[in-house]
Symmetry: C2
């Protein structure tokens, strides 16, 4: 029995934290460990740390390498899934054209699969989450960055050079705010974490907010989408307006996806997707306003079911 | 030999004209006939005319119905390809939920396949034209309407409810001009035929143009994209500016396709795609400006090879 390879390892390698998990073949998380990615700024140090922690996770749980079917890793960047090469990572320097799959397979002696993190999440939600078995799905990850994963005709669509789904960087307004990518007016520059904070700061210049003042001890450098969401829930009108405005832009982005791709479902994941009713209601209104009738009637916008585990579960699904 | 079914019929049913062609199995046009669609305003009359002309095309060429493998028909609207139902047609009233495939198969006694006209064109260009065998392709039809067809992983992608590729109605600017679809600021409201004419008229209010004046005999109601293109070729600075501006909007639309879908090729078809260098140069500059580096480097923008026959050839490909 012990020789049956029925366990999986899923790794969600993010710019802030790296999560490692041991999972059953049916994607149940059996054990997990998290370490701060940024503490290992050199690529080689990060790879060594990752190998060390995988090793430790297995020995702590008295699991032999022979029981592991493979390791799946989701990374925030441009990944050649088929050859296992990292072209580049967003906010993690030093990862250009790295044959990561080959390096790890050589060191660990087991199959390794790597892909873009939102592709992995999309696959996880498709196999075990909110869009189980649905033919045409777009996963939208809302956080610091805004990324997308696309499942068409029941399989991940990666595009001609593995960069399909760059939803965060479709142009919303050519006169819009500067985006982290260097261009201006991308969707991310309206609904990414920094955008939410920027919009709130701009509003605060025009009008004070007692609630935001209290929540940040008067230091608006402490503003985060989470705090702005708390303020909105406490009835702060300024924060409410910010979420409504951001929701409208999300809706415009969704309408472009819906008109172009005509998906069955769109699944929202990531921190900003938890921003609640105001944000989502406003997004759905804009979606209806700006999309064609038939694909708008077809699509359902749903939330991630895998939540914070979407990254590790999705990564483990890459092994299959 | 005569009993081998190796001929095809392709029908391009447009709002203005309906083209019928007899084609070899390798998509060579052997005979053709065109009639004005608008002269048959009642649906039943149009169907009878179509059947009559197909019949006549075969007898004139002494071809028996037994030699025909099937009929493919491209229509400008929302079509359920698998069940053969026309949900609606743009600018041809009276076609709502019509089981067109069944009606024709019953009357003609041979297999009939119907699909959206730009899907058919995309398939034609993929099998015999400018994007032969290319895995991931978007066909963009530029004319009165702006439509799209999408081939992903070497097969037509139609979406969850057959409406994928509504490229003409993705939002470019929420404060933009009114679009024929009832919304505002869609891509079509910047680069469709009416948009080109509207932009030219707006410019003419600010500044006269001797060349446009001559070409229209002073009656600007006669303006067409073709005339505006002629004026631009004659060096008319106003017309040149209009094409450059329209090209910029086309480029923004292309950038959204490229960032989202990461295609290998985009193939431009239809009247406006013949507008020449100014238009395309400006579009490619905007594409480069607004799209991500990797998918932008990957994509090639090419022109239709099947030209005016794209509709009939593409339609005949539906039979395969």
């Amino acid at each position: 029995m012990a020789s049956e390879k029925k366990l999986l390892i899923g790794v969600d390698l993010g710019a802030t934290n790296t999560k490692i998990a041991l999972l059953s073949n049916r994607a149940r998380v059996l054990a997990r460990f998290t370490f701060p990615t940024a503490s290992y700024s050199h690529r080689q140090a990060l790879i060594e740390k990752l190998i060390y922690e995988i090793d430790r996770l297995l020995s702590l749980n008295t699991i032999s390498f022979n029981n592991i079917r493979g390791i799946g890793i989701g990374l925030p960047g441009l990944i050649d899934f088929s050859r296992g090469i990292v072209f580049n990572l967003t906010n993690i320097p030093g990862w250009n054209n790295i044959p990561f799959k080959k390096i790890l397979e050589h060191r660990l002696g087991m199959p390794v699969y790597i892909d873009n993190d939102v592709n992995a999440i999309c696959l996880g939600e498709y196999l075990y989450g909110a869009v189980k078995g649905v033919s045409n799905v777009i996963a939208l990850s809302l956080g610091t960055g805004v990324g997308g994963g696309i499942i068409l005709n029941k399989s991940l669509y990666r595009g001609a050079s593995f960069s399909a789904g760059e939803i965060g960087h479709i142009l919303i307004d050519k006169n819009g705010p500067r985006c982290g990518c260097g261009r201006s007016g991308c969707l991310e520059s309206y609904i990414g974490n920094y955008a939410i904070v920027r919009m709130t700061r701009e509003q605060l210049k025009k009008k004070p907010s007692r609630i935001l003042n209290d929540l940040t001890d008067g230091d608006f450098n402490k503003l985060t989408p989470k705090l702005i969401n708390m303020a909105a829930r406490k009835g702060d009108s300024l924060s409410i307006r910010v979420w409504q405005e951001a929701g409208r832009y999300l809706g415009i982005g969704l309408s472009i996806l819906v008109n172009l791709i005509n998906p069955d479902r769109i699944v929202l994941c990531g921190g900003v997707s938890k921003a609640g009713n105001l944000f989502i209601k406003s997004a759905l209104e804009a979606l209806k306003k700006y999309s064609m009738e038939v694909p708008c009637r077809t699509v359902k916008v749903v939330f991630s079911k895998l939540g914070d585990d979407a990254g590790i579960i999705g990564a483990s699904c890459l092994v299959k």
